[in-house]
Homo-oligomer: 337 residues x 2
């Protein structure tokens, strides 16, 4: 939290996206007993995998085990997690007028399993370890609703943006309203900060991000950041960084496609910055991995407000020892930088 | 070719990546009679689809109908185009020492079907319409060889880069040597310029591109550009543009992830620039499509050396009328800019 406030720290703090994930045998032991969505919806299990991963790795923060998409269910999206395939939406918003099928949430009581998990995790974590909540950014959630799953070219999403700006803005507004109360409820339940994931905005040109996405993401972040610091994470296109800055937040999350010092120069010293090791580096042999971590730390040496992370999530077949080594190397090398 | 030399033009010239492709009924009429690889290897048919597409659209250049991967066959790669799935490599370079299985080409006689196609196309095209040849950049070809097909995270490719720099450089050298004589033979057969496609380099950080890719791509381009102008096309990461400039070429090809004027400012006025409409724009209604084309043209108004193109290839379900409209709008709007 000191780094979030850009105060001096003893060593660079680190957490890892998807740190409670399939690469970890302790996670799989829990995961194998239930389905993915059952794990998300059972506070005791979500708590167990969150706290276990944080304790094994020794990270400086825990991130709530949850998923980007369950918030869409009470909004009217028919969501299923298909084994080996990931999330599938059976009623994607593709026909004319489809946006009317989506309901903005006026209450998030139906997502109470998330807030129960937050309270449990908060009670089990050491008091000096912050708990991070999170949600999808409106563009990323809109893309899921429209494409019905992952996408290569975001054709349906962009078609709606280009051809029906009214429907597009209505969709984004409903998502912002809903995600805003969802994040505030996570904070009320005990999260010290929240991350907004715009995992898919990198498919957009700067002009399109500015016109179709920026006003909505900005409104979301503004509505939340009086309650707790917001980490604004956007991946896939370094040319969007000046607009990511305009969208706001306390911490700017950056992927590996740009040097971290260059990204920080674009944001300015008034922002804290989170990132940005290429996650594939974890497959490298340990001395190479260490060099690559050092390069990230060196690029922002002497600046206050760096939170180390990967540029994207851990992958299932990565070695737990190498993931743990990331945390240890950051703590070792960060102390002298 | 005037635009390539950055001389004044009457209107902005335009061609379209994958302009001879599945969206076009006239292409499908030929394609349905043979397999994809037969089409590539039959000069008369490759000529027919190249010339037909150029004549239907009225583009200012034709691009040779060919594929990035057949050059790998005589190098030792077992390549198959699987219906509905695309290219599959049955013997990907993944085991230790695998790079030894790849042979650098000393002659491209075995690819003579490509040069026959070039000669045929050249004889059928109007003399004022340049014919563009092309090949894959070494990183993109190396990724195919190693991953065995498309990839999301390029894990095997990056593992080799990070863990065995000697093998990586040997692989890239073999590819550069082979692609160099392949492109020169295309030029000798009658191409007026050639494009080098680095379709996948956008997954790399600037530091990784600089260390592992730049020296090889630069050597390739230097070896070819005394013979004809080279279009250096790199997609997926605007933070690589300063390094793309270092890799060289006469024309810099740019995708839609950055404003074209910003990209050009990074390259400098001594380069011509090609791009950069988001291809998904073609799904927009015609007035919206026209506005989006105008925005690209306006962003570089008054500069000499702009060749209009999409930021990536045409998709199979796009409307031929809309693709043709791109060409017409560019010619109409470019005349006044």
């Amino acid at each position: 939290m000191k780094a979030v406030r850009r105060e001096p720290v003893d060593t660079t703090p680190v957490w890892i996206m998807r740190q409670a994930g399939r690469y970890l045998p302790e996670y799989m032991a829990v995961r194998n007993k239930v389905t993915f969505i059952e794990l998300c919806k059972t506070p005791e299990l979500a708590c167990e995998v969150t706290v276990t991963a944080r304790n094994i790795l020794g990270t400086d923060a825990a991130i709530l085990f949850a998923d980007l998409l369950p918030i869409l269910e009470p909004m009217g999206i028919d969501l299923e997690y298909v084994k080996g395939k990931g999330p599938v939406i059976h009623n994607p918003l593709q026909e004319s007028g489809a946006v009317d099928r989506l309901t903005a949430l006026e209450s998030v009581d139906v997502l109470d399993y998330v807030f129960q998990a937050v309270r449990l995790i908060r009670s089990e974590l050491p008091s000096d370890i912050p708990l991070l909540g999170f949600a999808g950014a409106p563009f990323t959630l809109a893309s899921y609703c429209i494409e019905g799953g992952g996408s290569k070219n975001y054709v349906h999403t962009k078609k709606l943006m280009y051809n029906d700006i009214g429907a597009w803005n209505a969709l984004m507004s409903k998502l912002v309203d809903s995600v805003s109360i969802y994040l505030k409820a996570q904070i009320d339940a005990g999260c010290q900060a929240v991350q907004v994931f715009d995992s898919w905005a990198g498919c957009l040109s700067p002009a399109d991000y500015q016109q179709y996405v920026l006003p909505h993401t900005k409104r979301l972040i503004e509505s939340v950041q009086d309650h707790a610091p917001v980490i604004n994470f956007l991946t896939g296109n370094p040319a969007l960084l000046p607009l990511q800055r305009q969208a706001g937040g306390t911490v700017m999350g950056v992927d590996w496609r740009i040097q971290l010092n260059d990204a920080w120069d674009i944001f300015g010293a008034e922002f804290a910055v989170q990132g940005n090791l290429d996650p594939v580096s974890i497959y490298a042999e340990l001395p190479v991995l260490k060099e690559r971590i050092k390069a990230v730390l060196d690029s922002v040496k002497g600046r206050n407000g760096h939170i180390f992370n990967l540029g994207h999530g851990v992958m299932p077949d990565m070695s737990p020892e190498h993931v743990k080594a990331v945390v240890d190397y950051v703590h070792e090398l960060g102390a002298s930088s």
